[in-house]
């Protein structure tokens, strides 16, 4: 490849050899018309408007179907071509409904004006199809399809197939009578999950989103603001359209990573919550168990006084802070700095402890970085992908688009999950181990790999601590995990174990995506160790398209840890216990060295346990909702009640705010500037699109003012970019990044200097451990501490679904999302249903040793017999009433995935 000279209308143009001629011409400002071509899609050649003449070829050729060849001579515009295009457009208009209501971009309309065909007297052809009856399909919760506006360009079909890998759309009927159908014909009954890629790529407004359709007027849109999606950790770049101070539409931003314009249903339709009338707009102070509106001055001085008294009375370590995976790096950086310099403790943590703490712990120990080692595009181009305990299609829908595109080009996918996930439909192999048997399964695979000598000896020798010696220790440990023995523990057939080992180990390149299914166990860290062992002995890391990637659950769960919301580490994973580190950080923060505590703080669940035990007296929660997200909620509730002072800073009343003494109204993501870090370590800009409602304030400004009121003022920051500049000074992995550098494209850390381009693949030369080598951690399978018993005969698993998000605070305030689904349920295997006489939709009470809830049964063989699954988003059926707060000894994560329960039908 490379640039070559071609000639278009006698003008020399530099174009990419082999690239699409139409695309290259347009890039050079030669605006050849065309309606069916889109740079993201394979060429269709349907509209024929991009016809050109090429020297040496007969007649007219569609330029979208031609590849650039050095020296080619192209005629893009002459009388004949333009007459032909006008003829074709005239044809097209003769079958179209050309009404326009200003609610969507219309490429056909633009061409109509360009060729003068908006004037009826310039049209030659009579309308065809006067008798056709095309009905609008408005059955989808999020979009309408109007066949009379459809030019049958295939863009929506290809958007669904090629871009999103969903294959929901197709044509019904033939020729002039054809129109688009979803699934079997009714959009709302199809498998369409509402991502809206088809809307974004529709050139004529045949497919348009429903929300705000009656409000939006493109000529009145006052701002288009590019920012980062507030939901999961993919970090999709979105463009918000603002009209009358309200967000009226969200589109994917084309041509930039990580999403290249793709979105999921939440990213496109999940913005309504910011305009909810339920937003907190004034500080609230609890007086006699009633929340009373207060001024900011009252609220902040009360907080300053109370926290100050608690420090005086009990010492700094009686206070703690929960940071937020939803807030920006700048917010979180200021928050952890506040906890460390104003509270004077390292008791700072957040919900990462509840999701990937064990993964991060294992990765830090074994390979040195607690983040994904690859880039999102690698999910499409690697040869083999193991997805373990990760419902990637529902939880990271846009990462999954890369996976599905990979599958379409032949990537081998191995799904390891006790529960069926949609990815199984794309997978080469699905291993369904019993809950809590991951170490055994992975050890079995490791043994099979060693037995067949599929190991990478050079890699072991050169890049693993202890080389062959360490390898032999692992070999000895896994020796007993024969395929048959492993089958007896896991329930996965020996054949499948062997096949999975072969596919992974013999692939040229292979990646692993690991999720909550692995991490949220008492053995979470061990699970990931055994996974890393497999990755390391096969040398499937430290190379492009090889590695381990835990897709992160929240928009900024990666960033919040990166910038120091960790009880043991300063920004950039610098241990607090090291004097040298403390001295350096104290220097930047301009605080006395010994004012920074050297004692690592408590983790999320430990903070709650300490509150229960009366050791933590005051807690400052920024944008978290532990009363849904923490394990063993009955215990959490008791703990929160025991606090002497609780401040919750949020955008809504939550299950947690009712225990607060002061509630502070904060800003939603669309109301602030800053940055997020996504799952592939990409630092991405967040930009303010709208104003905060009422008196709500940006999070960091609240904390900043509080620091001053508590007598430990922070420097004045003119804006968020100045906070980032300070952050970059203490965070070596981000030292080279600034807001100015990431205006267009995000940068992946580590990025140590302003000249550094960022790092797409980790560990190419060395691991980030002191020795530069990776470490094997041979671990044995141990039985889970919680078992099915006669009293609690089922094991309950929990997880997420596509349409909702975590504690539901945001997602359940979007009508498009609740229209798709808004009900809680438990999935039970058909055989268990028969055994227990339970019918579909039976109301049941589920009880564990910790608590109980009521929900409705869905019967499906998505789970194994004896196992159950529940989504945990729904406050009406709080799964965490049932879970335990027993912790993984290394990472202090709780076992959300394994709770012994019983199920009883109730009336």
């Amino acid at each position: 490849m490379g640039k070559v000279s071609i000639y278009i209308d006698d003008r020399e143009v530099m174009a990419e050899q082999g690239a699409n001629l139409l695309h290259e011409a347009r890039k050079n400002g030669i605006n050849i018309p065309g309606l069916c071509y889109h740079p993201k899609l394979t060429p269709t050649g349907a509209c024929r408007l991009c016809l050109v003449k090429v020297e040496g070829q007969r007649g007219m050729v569609a330029s979208c179907t031609l590849a650039v060849k050095e020296g080619m001579h192209v005629t893009a515009f002459d009388q004949e071509l333009e007459d032909t295009r006008r003829f074709l457009l005239d044809y097209l208009i003769s079958e179209q409904n050309i009404d326009y209501d200003n609610t969507y971009p219309d490429e056909l309309r633009e061409l109509m004006f360009r060729y003068g065909l908006h004037l009826p007297q310039n049209r030659f052809f009579k309308p065809v199809k006067p008798h056709a009856e095309f009905k609008v399909d408005s059955s989808s919760p999020v979009l309408t399809y109007d066949p009379s506006k459809c030019i049958k360009c295939f863009r929506c079909i290809k958007a669904c197939d090629e871009v999103q890998g969903k294959n929901v759309l197709s044509f019904y009927e033939r020729g002039l009578a054809s129109y688009i159908v979803a699934g079997m014909g009714v959009w709302g009954e199809s498998e369409c999950d509402g991502c809206g890629e088809c809307i974004q790529l529709c050139p004529t407004g045949a497919i348009v989103e429903k929300p705000n359709r009656n409000i939006i007027n493109l000529s009145k849109v006052e701002r288009r603001v590019r920012t980062t999606c507030p939901y999961c950790g993919v970090g999709c770049q979105i463009e918000l359209l603002v009209q009358n101070g309200r967000i009226v539409r969200s589109n994917g931003v084309e041509g930039v990573l990580p999403n290249d314009g793709r979105l999921c249903v939440k990213g496109r339709f999940g913005y309504e919550f910011v305009h909810s009338p339920e937003r907190l707009t004034k500080p609230l102070i609890r007086k006699n168990d009633v929340f009373v509106e207060a001024t900011w001055d009252e609220a902040l001085s009360l907080i300053a006084t109370k926290f100050g008294e608690l420090i005086q009375k009990y010492g700094p370590d009686a206070l703690a802070g929960y940071a937020s995976a939803k807030c920006t790096n700048e917010d979180n950086y200021i928050f952890q700095k506040f906890v460390r310099t104003v509270f004077g403790t390292n008791n700072i943590d957040y919900c990462t402890r509840l999701c990937h703490a064990s993964t991060v712990t294992a990765m830090l120990r074994s390979i040195g970085d607690g983040a994904g080692s690859n880039s999102i595009q690698d999910f499409e181009t690697t040869d083999c992908l193991v997805v373990t305990g990760n419902n990637i299609i529902e939880t990271h829908p846009v990462t999954a688009t890369y996976v599905k595109r990979g599958a379409a080009r032949g990537m081998k996918i191995i799904v390891i999950d006790p529960k069926w996930t949609p990815l199984v439909s794309y997978a080469t192999l699905w291993l369904q181990p019993r809950l809590g048997t991951d170490v055994a399964l992975l050890n079995g695979m490791v043994r099979e790999i060693i037995a067949n000598n599929w190991v990478d000896h050079d890699f072991i020798q050169n890049r693993i601590d202890g080389g062959m010696q360490s390898f032999l220790e692992l070999k000895n440990l896994v020796d007993k995990y024969t395929p048959e023995h492993t089958e007896s523990i896991t329930g996965v057939s020996a054949d499948k174990i062997k096949e999975a080992a072969r596919i992974y180990a013999t692939a040229k390149t292979a990646m692993v995506a690991t999720g909550m299914g692995m991490s949220q166990q008492v053995t979470g860290t061990h699970n990931v160790f055994s996974l890393l062992n497999m990755i390391l002995i096969t040398g499937k890391i430290g190379k492009e398209r090889c590695g381990i990637d835990p897709p992160r659950g929240q928009n900024n769960v990666q960033g919040a840890t990166d910038v120091g919301c960790h009880p043991g580490m300063y920004p950039g994973y610098i241990p607090v216990s090291n004097d040298e580190n403390r001295r350096r950080v104290a220097g930047v923060w301009n605080v006395p060295f010994d004012s920074l505590s050297a004692k690592p703080g408590l983790t999320t669940v430990e903070i709650m346990q300490a509150a229960y035990d009366g050791k933590i007296k005051g807690l400052y929660i920024m944008g978290e909702n532990p009363m849904i997200s923490d394990p063993n909620l009955n215990h959490t509730e008791e703990a929160l009640k025991k606090l002497e002072f609780l401040v919750v800073q949020d955008i809504f009343h939550t299950e947690t705010t009712r225990f607060a003494h002061v509630i502070l109204p904060a800003s939603a993501w669309a109301e602030k500037n800053g940055t997020f870090v996504n799952s592939d370590r990409r630092v991405l800009r967040v930009r303010k699109a709208i104003e905060c409602p009422g008196e709500a304030r940006e999070d960091w400004k609240i904390i900043h003012e509080l620091a001053g009121r508590m007598g430990k003022p922070m420097p004045v920051y003119a804006d968020e970019s100045e906070i980032f500049d300070e952050l970059a000074k203490v965070t070596p992995i981000m030292a080279g990044i600034s807001h100015a550098r990431i205006e267009e494209h995000g940068i992946q850390w580590p990025c140590p200097t302003p000249e550094h381009p960022g790092t797409s693949t980790l560990y190419i030369d060395r691991f980030n451990t002191p020795s530069g080598k990776a470490r094997l951690y041979p671990v044995d399978h141990v039985d889970q501490t919680e078992h099915a018993t006669p009293e609690y005969p089922f094991i309950l698993n929990s997880g997420r679904i596509l349409y909702h998000y975590h504690t539901g605070t945001m997602s359940r305030r979007n009508k498009p999302l609740t229209d798709f689904t808004n009900a809680h349920y438990v999935i039970m295997h058909p055989n268990d249903a028969v055994k227990n006489g339970i019918k579909p939709n039976t109301k049941v009470r589920i009880t564990s040793a910790r608590g109980s809830l009521d929900t409705y049964v869905r019967i499906a063989d998505e789970v194994l017999e004896g196992e159950l699954f529940m989504p945990w988003h729904f406050t009406e059926a709080q799964v965490n009433r049932l879970t335990r707060d027993e912790l993984d000894p290394y990472s202090r994560i709780a076992p959300f995935k394994i709770s012994a329960v019983r199920v009883e039908a109730i009336d």
Partner: protein
Amino acid sequence: MLKEYRIALRNSGLINPESIEEFIAADGYQALRKALRSEPLGIYEEIYESGLRGRGGAGFSTGAKEKAAAVICSDCDKYVICNADEGEPGTFKDRVIMETDPHTLIEGMTIAAYSIGAHRGFIYIRGEYELSIRRLTLAIEQAYQHGFLGNNILGSGFNFDLEIRRGAGSYLCGEELTLIESVEGKRGYPRIKPPYPAEKGLWGSPTLINNVETLANFPQIILNGAKWYRSIGTENSPGTKIFTISGDVVNPGYYEYPMGITLRELIFDVAGGIKNNKPFGTALLGGAAGTFAAENQLDVQMSYDKLKEVGLTLGSGAVIVLDSTRNVNQTMLSILKFFKHESCGKCIPCRIGTTQLYETLANELKSPTFNPNKVYRELVWQAELMARTSLCPLGQSPVLPLKSLHDNLMALLTASNA
């Protein structure tokens, strides 16, 4: 009296099509035996030398296609497809071969597969051809049992598996790239060309796709040699052609004759002339995507080039004869209705053009001031633009009958509507 010369129809009517023994007794599978003993190169060179041209209608050099698919790569997946989706109106030659001598097709395909190095083949049959499907299914089964298909064919080490795919009633699926989409299990839409099938065909692999009649010529060419084949027919169109004659003739039917026979001979000698002694009106050559011949063109030789010289087409070999009392405008309207019905709708010019053409003619025919000269001039103008801008051959077809009517048969058109 002219004599038939049967190559593709060699066994038709002479053997029991459900008996492989009778086929073998008639020298069946001898060509395959011979082919497997020679190098693949020898096979496609022989076909190339024979001058055999595609009998589906396009008339492209079969050997050239074969050679392209043979040399593009070794050690890669390749496929052979037989296009048996015979849908051109007035054409029924492939059906006759499949119904009366299915093994000849299987033998031809296996030779073709061997010559390009393909190990898997498909026969894509028009779904309505129940008897063809039944006979071919049985024949394939027999061929497997006798070792003419499957692994290590006749001890040569060559493997070839053959399957049937049924079409579902779309005319367009007879277009080779659309047919390939359909074999892949997708909806029948044409692909962008190039790449041609020999480069990227079925599932993206090099694919040789040939018509039934074309493949049925393979065994005799291999057995008797290219020189023999070239001795039949004309210089640029060697061999024989099956003509399917229908309409207003005394003896409609299928007839295999050497290329070069004149249209007059076909209609008046072979088919016994016009029924009920009416005067000749016109003959539509090649089906809907064909051309109307006028009386003064009856002495044209039936070969690719000679027909082309006078603006006519051989196409699939269909000859639909109309006597002078037929309303040719209505015939043309039927053809336009057919295209409108069969247009897949993928590209604008064909989707809308086929309807515009039909509606224009339908409306004009109702007009008391119908002026064929003016109307057909406009229709030809539209159809020419369609032909130049359409994605696949369907949209390039309506201009053929329209223009030939306009150029050759204005008098008949005027008389028809009088």
